[in-house]
């Protein structure tokens, strides 16, 4: 390896090892290409706004003189932003240093001589693939108005509209749906081309020599043919001879066939792909949620849990392998997706950050086998996420714990405990039940003592519960993880503590406002 090659390879290793360089590249990749990156949508909206403003300026410019600043903005500012974007996309499209390292290590491993030009050629091929892609060509055309001295190039502003494809998912979905019918469209194109060609020539031959006919050139014939086959029929150019009209009948019939065929291709493409398009939409919506509960299995308990969670500040997402249950969830107004909760791939397809986005995963299938499987799957992805599971048979409790469930609900055991209370202290049980379920307008609330509240209110005596006719049931101390019932007036409040209050709903709301407003004297 000569000195220069050695230098280039070393530099490639340096770039690959450089945290700052990789961080920058990663950042631009996220902003430009990574749909999961939360700030990408802001960038997309910014670019869409630029495109529309650019086209709007072009339209206004046609019939009136526009402000010089607007001109500068349109020609230079927008074009330069697009140029920078193009360069960045070119940069992140592939890694030259990666390619050099890969080829160099490959050569070393096989004991062959390393040729730098071969590695650079491979890297150039990768870059060329980007440059020749449809999206990159549109991007390049959108930059051309920068050279506005050439009047024709100014018209390339219109190409900026095509850039919308890049930023709008609906267009991409539409294009991908139609792309599935490439073969059918190709057949249609060939058929239409033959009909147009044959009919243009025929009508030209029949009509061109007739002085009364408006078809005088082959272009007129071609125009007439396309207008007729499209079933538009402007009527500005018509066939006047009998022979020409015979050709027209043939083209009209062919036109109806082409239209019907086109419609059927588009409709069938959308029918076949509609579920996929909807799925993409649902996944995007889920990715966009900041925090949510993930319900795995939408059976009777899950349906009731969802009703109870309707006022939650977090979203509720349903994952179920059964299409009918997913439909039921959708009918109940939920975001639901037909993925198997027991399959790791489902979570990969969702593309969510389980630790950050998911508050709790609820395994609510009425089958212990399914719940254990789902719990194990989720636990294999995340060690920390909170998992609550339903238990149908007490014999499987250990399995669920072993799989990693944090909390287990065993309805049968609950029935036993309720039975005991109902026979022992029925009224007390009913009172607690009513309290927990916000019956009669009386509710029990837990309020977190935040940093500000702990600075404003130092002791229990300062809570002023009597004024709001609220009762402080107790304090849950974060540091000791203990509940202190009916605390003394001089008990100190600390940030992170939870206060349990019982009181009338209306007073409770006012009381909460008071707690957060109170300013220390």
């Amino acid at each position: 390896m000569n000195f220069f090659t050695r230098l280039v390879v070393d530099f490639a290793y340096f770039l690959n090892a450089s945290i700052a360089y990789q961080r920058q590249k990663r950042f631009f990749y996220d902003v430009l290409e990574n749909d999961k990156y939360p700030y990408k949508k802001h960038f997309d909206i910014f670019m869409i706004a630029l495109i529309f403003s650019s086209v709007a300026i072009l339209i206004v410019e046609v019939k009136s003189e526009i402000n010089i600043y607007l001109k500068i903005f349109n020609i230079y500012v927008i074009s330069i932003i697009f140029l920078v974007e193009y360069v960045l996309r070119f940069w992140i499209s592939s890694s030259v240093s990666d390619m050099i390292i890969k080829k160099s290590e490959h050569a070393v491993a096989l004991g062959r001589k390393f040729y730098l030009y071969k590695a650079l050629l491979s890297a150039a091929k990768e870059k060329l693939r980007f440059v020749l892609s449809i999206k990159a060509i549109i991007d390049l055309l959108a930059i051309l108005p920068l050279f506005h001295e050439l009047r024709l190039l100014r018209l390339f502003v219109v190409f900026r509209v095509f850039k919308l494809f890049r930023y709008t998912k609906s267009f991409q979905a539409f294009a991908s749906v139609l792309a599935t019918k490439k073969f059918e469209f190709f057949i249609l194109f060939i058929f239409s081309s033959i009909v147009i060609f044959v009919s243009s020539v025929l009508v030209y031959v029949m009509e061109a020599q007739n002085p009364k006919s408006p078809i005088n050139t082959l272009f007129d014939a071609l125009y007439w043919s396309i207008v007729t086959i499209a079933t538009v029929g402007y009527g500005d150019i018509v066939a006047v001879t009998t022979e020409g009209r015979m050709v027209a009948i043939f083209v009209i019939i062919a036109g109806i066939s082409v239209l019907a065929f086109t419609t059927s291709i588009v409709v069938s493409a959308f029918t076949e792909k509609l579920d996929e398009v909807r799925e993409i939409r649902t996944v995007d919506t889920i990715r966009g949620l900041k925090h949510f509960y993930l319900i795995c299995g939408y059976e009777s308990v899950a349906q009731e849990v969802v009703k109870k969670l309707k006022n939650t500040k977090y979203g509720v997402i349903v994952l179920d392998e059964d299409a009918q249950r997913v439909e039921n969830a959708k009918k109940d107004g939920l975001i639901a997706i037909n993925y198997d909760p027991g399959d790791v791939e489902s979570y990969e397809k969702l593309g969510i950050d389980i630790n950050l986005q998911v508050k709790t995963i609820l395994c609510l299938r009425e089958s212990d086998i399914e719940n254990v499987y789902t719990t194990l799957t989720v636990r294999s992805i995340s060690k920390d996420v909170n998992i609550i599971s339903l238990l149908m048979d007490d014999a499987n409790r250990k399995k669920l714990i072993f799989a990693g469930a944090n909390e287990i609900f065993y309805p049968k055991g609950l029935v036993g405990m309720i039975a005991k209370e109902l026979t022992g202290r029925p009224v007390a049980f009913e009172v607690i039940h009513a309290l927990r379920n916000d019956y009669y307008g009386v509710d029990v609330e837990e309020i977190l003592v935040d940093e500000r509240m702990s600075q404003n209110i130092l002791y229990v005596s300062e809570l002023n519960c009597a004024k709001f006719r609220i009762i402080l049931l107790g304090i849950y101390k974060k540091n000791t993880k203990r509940f202190f019932f009916n605390p003394l007036e001089e008990t100190m409040l600390e940030s992170g503590d939870y206060l349990l209050f019982i009181g009338n709903n209306a007073f409770m709301g006012e009381f909460e406002k008071y707690l957060h407003k109170k300013i220390r004297r």
């Binding site: 039975a419 026979t423 022992g424 006719r469 009916n486 349990l500």
Partner: protein, 233 residues
């Protein structure tokens, strides 16, 4: 005559109920529909008898106080469970019947059939799960008060005639400071309960036989009972 718990239906629910009631009743019997009894499941050695859905209740022991006992209808088939409830109610007018339901529709039918109390299984489980998610500390505290052997207890305390609080307005009294108990609700003589935080109860004059639902440590509740009346759990 023995005060008994009669559990109709042989399944996990019945066994869980039997396990929890064993200490509180002189006699706990599970009645299995038909003859299919899986003896292996019965790890708590509860007496098991068979029954059918005819109105022949001769297999309920003669020494059982049928009118004052408690019956649990826990058949897994909703229609059979409703039929059983109607049969029991038509035969024993004063029997306290608690029935298990799997959905709202069955719950209202069971009530129409004569059940004194219906446990809506799905709703109750869902309520607890939702509470666990939204108010985990409330769930923990109440669950411990109700179902676990926590030091914190809930009790129903009846006001005896002649205690110092009879004749006083509720708003004048603060038992949380004096006895360390928190009053949740007042139960009137007609057994209708009212939360202590409602508007009109503030001016309620305490009368003898008023029942208060209080939460507190066992020792404090005992002291409160001694001063005000008697426990009526």
């Amino acid at each position: 005559m023995k005060k008994a718990a009669l559990i109709f239906g042989y399944n996990d629910y019945a066994l869980e109920i039997a396990k929890n009631l064993k200490s509180g009743y002189e006699k706990v019997t599970i009645y299995a529909l038909g003859s299919e009894v899986d003896a292996l499941k019965n790890s708590h050695d509860v007496e098991i008898k068979s029954f059918d859905l005819s109105d022949n209740w001769s297999n309920i022991d003669e020494d059982t106080d049928r009118e004052n006992s408690i019956a649990f209808c826990v058949l897994e088939d909703s229609a059979e469970n409703i039929f059983l409830t109607i049969s029991l109610r038509s035969s024993f007018e004063n029997l306290n019947i608690i029935a298990l339901s799997n959905n709202k529709q069955t719950a209202s039918k069971l009530q129409m059939a004569g059940a004194n109390k219906v446990i809506p299984l799905v709703q109750t489980t869902a309520e607890m799960i939702a509470e666990m998610l939204q108010k985990p500390i409330v769930k923990e505290v109440f669950h411990n008060i109700l179902f676990q052997n926590s030091t914190l207890k809930i009790a129903q305390v009846k006001m005896n005639e002649g205690n110092i609080y009879v004749g006083k307005e509720i708003s004048e009294i603060d038992w949380s400071i004096k006895y360390g108990v928190v009053v949740l609700a007042l139960v009137h003589k007609d057994m209708s309960s009212e939360f202590i935080y409602s508007y009109k109860i503030k001016h309620h004059i305490i009368d003898k036989d008023d029942v208060f639902i209080v939460v507190g440590y066992a020792k404090d509740i005992k002291e409160f009972e001694e001063m005000t009346g008697s426990r009526c759990d």
